[in-house]
Symmetry: C2
Amino acid sequence: MTNGATGPLDGLLVVDLTRVLAGPYCTLVLQDLGARVIKVETPAGGDDARHYGPFVRGKSAYFMSLNRGKQSIALDLKAPKDRAVFEKLVAKADLLVENYRPGTMDKLSYGWAQLHAMNPRLIYAAVSGFGQTGPYKGRAAYDMVVQAMGGVMSLTGHGGDQPTRVGTSIGDITAGLFGTIGILAALENRHRTGRGTMVDVAMLDCQVAILENAIARYAATGNVPGPMGARHPSITPFEALRAQDGHMVVAAGNNILFAKLAEALGEPGLATDERFATNDARTQNHDILKPRLEALMAKRPVAEWLAILDKAGVPNGPINNVAQALGDQQIVARNMVVSSDDAVAGTLKMAGNPIKMTGFPDPSTRGPTPDLDADRAAILKELGL
Amino acid sequence: MTNGATGPLDGLLVVDLTRVLAGPYCTLVLQDLGARVIKVETPAGGDDARHYGPFVRGKSAYFMSLNRGKQSIALDLKAPKDRAVFEKLVAKADLLVENYRPGTMDKLSYGWAQLHAMNPRLIYAAVSGFGQTGPYKGRAAYDMVVQAMGGVMSLTGHGGDQPTRVGTSIGDITAGLFGTIGILAALENRHRTGRGTMVDVAMLDCQVAILENAIARYAATGNVPGPMGARHPSITPFEALRAQDGHMVVAAGNNILFAKLAEALGEPGLATDERFATNDARTQNHDILKPRLEALMAKRPVAEWLAILDKAGVPNGPINNVAQALGDQQIVARNMVVSSDDAVAGTLKMAGNPIKMTGFPDPSTRGPTPDLDADRAAILKELGL
């Protein structure tokens, strides 16, 4: 099912000044959609993430998983000769993405006004911790800082004296995703106006954007929502429940599903008990319902309950660790575990592209990760330098 | 700073069949970028989320926060007269988004092949729990199910016997974001080919796509990563630390920052202690470093440390609850808390749009939320019906 193109963004050129995670995640998504991404790295070691573990034969698996399929050129943006190369690249590019602290590009004389003058069609996306405006704009931020400040940490975990981070860097990742959306919206706009736009995405803003029903709950009631462990705040039962040999998730989101669950657990009367007859009643009486459910679930191991609830049509799932998730038959069938070959490190597994599009290939092997400055000669030749 | 357009997607028409969260989140992002979104809802109660609490004077604050600025028409897609209306809408639309269980659209004779024949320029995005292919495609999924199956829950929390969900529905939200990216990429492709594409995004796939360094760690070492509480797995100190009156986040990601931190805490010798001299050493010796840091931090309250570390240039942040986050001066300055007026419920606060774009307005008041079928007459008139 391919039309000859590698993706819907085929032919677009991205000049990629990003480092570490939020920016590289954005340009990885663009690359997976067919764009050509040229990483412009500092000659002194390149992207910091090249030096983050874990390493496979000296190469960073972390870096490879975020930069497969990209190209690399090392440029010193303070040296006139390298600046000339960079400016030639900018003149040819469709997109420029950076995740420096605000002000860094201005200091290099590559702020939005200058870039826009150099190439009016260029779309410029700046992904930063706090954004290009506001009182904190000059501060550095990291994932855990914005998870804490944006409120997500206050909603995650079991409360008490143990703050809990989301176990993956959603502070960076959501900024990368909103940045990608901004870039693609600017691309649509460029078809209308012929001109590029600057996109300003802040990690902290994105944390607010994903607070979801917590804002509505606070806005409607004035009560500040807290952490709920592994339970949904307003749907019951919709949580992790303990079976004989461990936990699993059960999501009976309405009365029909709850009746099916009660039947499958061998106590259909639960569904007609007035304390549990409606979702509101179940949520009010969670403290007495949960032990009743777990007493029934204690009779069988997780594997048996998964099969029983599947058959009964009650949404449920195992709590997979990363190895189990990557081996799950659906995840494998969806080509969500791909590989990339490296001359030194060998073949490494990494996450695939979750955007499946009719007419475009979704290869199970992705392009290699460039060594620092690996594509210099080819890029200079292309630029006529 | 407006060019007269409300957003880069001005003039695009979205037919929105989505319900609850993942799909409505996607069309909310499109709406914030200027697209016109017409919700097509079932006449029997409309989008399920209209009936989810919390309620303000009988209206769902949850629903309002996801559907502001959209229009609504109630159509029974099994009734010939309403199907004719729907087909007129499809003929005019640029985008159609749905988050039914796979197969539902086919049963209505509105599968991709049929929609594509009706309007070859239409872009069709299907957001589902497990995707349109693979062994689980027919199953229903909910946020907590995919958080559990995709591995994110295994990385979140403090381990032991307490499974921990991410406190916001990132299973739905990331699918909404990747769906939006797929739609916008298909739009770029339509400029080249004149034809629409089908985009298939699964919530479970998106959970794999955000596992980040957990996959690299597992792939490189064979060790299955577990939950880390509020700590980064490979950077130290990069975690929640206890001060005199509570916790705060400290992110000293390299040796220079660690030296600044040690100085600010009043014990500069920590940075030259060989057990803590490099990030690897600090990570190895986390068990002895953390109590040393917390003993120093116990001398002052969080508010004082925030000011001291800011001054020292060490990235840090308070662990804000939702009320504190929404009141944070940076979040306010970035217009990340907007409001929407409702004739019955009054003014409700909700999250703003984190994609800030030069040349487009970012209003602090957003459009109202439609009552079910509120826009029927106007839409029928527009369609000449």
